[in-house]
Symmetry: C2
Subunit: 95 residues, 2 copies
C-alpha cells in the first residue's frame, strides 16, 4: 500500500466551500477507481486555508493511473488555480 | 476524530535506522495511550530523508495529553536534534 498526503494552501479570498464545490467531482470519481482504498479531504483545525487529501492506494501503479484519469486531468487544473501552493508526498509504512 | 500529519526532514548524514532506533520507544508507548487510534511512521518513497508520522486520535484532548506524556517529553527532544525541520498539522475530515 502507498499513502499519499496532498496538502493544498488556498489563495487568499478563496473559500473552503468554493474549493469543495469543484473538488467533490474528483473525490467521488476517484473513490470509484479500482486501486483506490481511501480518498478523503481534511481541513486543518487551526488554519482553514489548508486542505489536505489523505489517500491510500493499492500500489504506485494505481496512483499513476489516477493521475492520467479523465477526472484528474479535467478538474485538478481548476483546483490548482485556487491554490497558493501544493505539497505532495507518497509514503510507505516503515513501522 | 483528529488526524495528525507530522512530517520530519532529517539532517544531512542522519540515517533512517539511527532515527528509528530512538523513535521506536515513543511509537510503542504512544500506541498504548487510551486516546490513540493509530500511530505509524512512514518513509517518503522518493526521498528517504523525509519521515512522517500519520496519526489518528479520538479528540484534541488526547493529543494534548500525549504531548505532555513522559515518553514524548523525554524522547521527542532527542528526535528533534536529528531533524532539519518539522511540520505538524492537525486535521478534521471534511468529506
Amino acid at each position: 500500500m502507498i499513502k499519499v498526503v496532498c496538502k493544498a494552501k488556498l489563495k487568499q479570498g478563496v473559500t473552503v466551500e468554493e474549493y469543495l464545490k469543484i473538488a467533490r467531482e474528483v473525490i467521488s470519481e476517484t473513490r470509484k477507481e479500482k486501486g483506490c482504498i481511501t480518498y478523503t479531504i481534511h481541513e486543518d483545525i487551526h488554519d482553514p486555508t489548508i486542505l489536505t487529501m489523505l489517500e491510500e492506494w493499492v500500489n504506485e501503479e494505481a496512483i499513476n493511473q489516477h493521475n492520467q484519469s479523465e477526472h484528474v486531468l479535467k478538474i485538478v487544473p481548476e483546483l490548482r488555480k485556487l491554490r497558493e501552493s501544493t505539497e505532495i508526498n507518497l509514503y510507505r509504512e516503515v513501522e
